[in-house]
């Protein structure tokens, strides 16, 4: 979707302001949100792409106003409601519907580190061959999907060069809609800064993006 989350190349957000000696969490609730999100994710009722899309679909003004962990809180609430793990009435009352039996959490403390260490790899076996070889000239498609996509607006329609392929990876556009992983080749594509930003850019500079086959055309 052409959302406010797709920020590459925008102006007006001011300087970047590093914070000396920044703590991991600025308040204990931030860590609890991170932990809740990961722990309830153990039910495997959604995937990382669907999760990202719940953040992208926050109202744009909220997206810009909320902090990272506030966005995660809103997103987690949307996800547990959408998955039917929690009802709206339970959320409002703050208590379990007595008609619903108490569940057993899938992620227990002893499984936390192994789960973190395992992560969620997105590389998939495929018998397909990559469509593009290193060095091939490509153009990012000028498409405007209304759902989740990882093709930023600032490269759409721009020419780049295939740097390498990373094998077949889960395709976010379909996975976010629970329409299947549809694994396809993922490429690192180099775009010259001048191709993206015009003649004022430094001719030595470039931006690299990881783009799926469905985002690219041969030139």
């Amino acid at each position: 979707m052409n959302g406010v989350h797709d920020m590459g190349g925008m102006h007006g957000f001011g300087p970047v302001t590093p914070e000396p000696n920044e703590p991991v969490f600025h308040a204990p609730w931030e860590g609890r949100v991170l932990a809740l999100r990961r722990a309830v994710g153990g039910w495997r009722r959604w995937n990382i792409d669907a999760g990202r899309h719940t953040i992208e679909t926050l109202p744009p003004a909220d997206y810009l106003r909320l902090s990272y962990y506030e966005k995660w809180l809103e997103s987690t609430i949307k996800l547990v409601l959408g998955a039917g793990l929690v009802t709206r009435r339970e959320l409002e009352t703050g208590h379990r519907d007595p008609a619903v039996p108490v569940a057993t959490p899938p992620l227990t403390a002893d499984k936390v580190l192994p789960a973190i260490m395992a992560g969620g790899p997105t590389l998939r076996e495929t018998s397909a061959k990559p469509r593009f070889a290193a060095g091939a000239a490509v153009r990012a498609r000028d498409i405007n999907p209304v759902g989740h996509t990882r093709l930023p607006r600032y490269v759409r329609g721009r020419r780049g060069t295939i740097e390498c392929d990373h094998g077949a990876h889960v395709f976010p556009d379909s996975n976010a809609k629970f329409e299947g992983e549809n694994p396809q080749f993922l490429y690192t594509v180099r775009f010259e800064a001048r191709e993206l930003w015009g003649a004022a850019a430094n001719p030595a500079d470039a931006v690299y993006l990881d783009l799926w086959e469905d985002y690219l055309d041969a030139v």
Partner: protein
Amino acid sequence: MAHDHDHPHDHDHGQEMPETALRVKALESLLVEKGLVDPAALDAIVDAYENKIGPRNGARIVARAWTDAGYKARLMKDATAAIAEFGYSGAQGEHMVVVENTPAVHNLVVCTLCSCYPWPVLGLPPVWYKSSAYRSRAVIDPRGVLRDFGVSLPDDVAVRVWDSTAEIRYLVLPERPAGTDGLSAEALADLVTRDAMIGTAKVGAP
């Protein structure tokens, strides 16, 4: 639990927002009551990211690459496997690539679409990395962003920006500073900062 954020506050920090803290507490209490999450697991997750998984991991990788040519070769060829030699793997670092800074090339990592970041080697991202300012400008004005961090690059040093649009996560291998020939890998790791491994800083001499 209706959305309730209509007052102004500093959106880049999570401080002094008692209503948010209360909403998180209410959600946690409900999820625990329903048996959907184990409170001990929540503590373990917070502990992992507060105390176990952080930029010290990445610094050890960098120091080893500086002191062991064989390791560096493995790291540049298959970063995921070379990083796993240290026991670092998993969530938000499932597929790793290391990019090397040289006198001619400076690398900078960003995620313009959200805040993708190599957690197993750097821990959780700092607030500035997640900020709209960094995400918007890193790709169009990387040299200006570097100046915000006090790094000024000559025009003939090529800047390569890596926008983490998929599940590949990037770690910058900074240049080893001069005057560090006699240092052990452990002493070298002490010099390597988180920002140097994102590409917004250089590693200074001891």
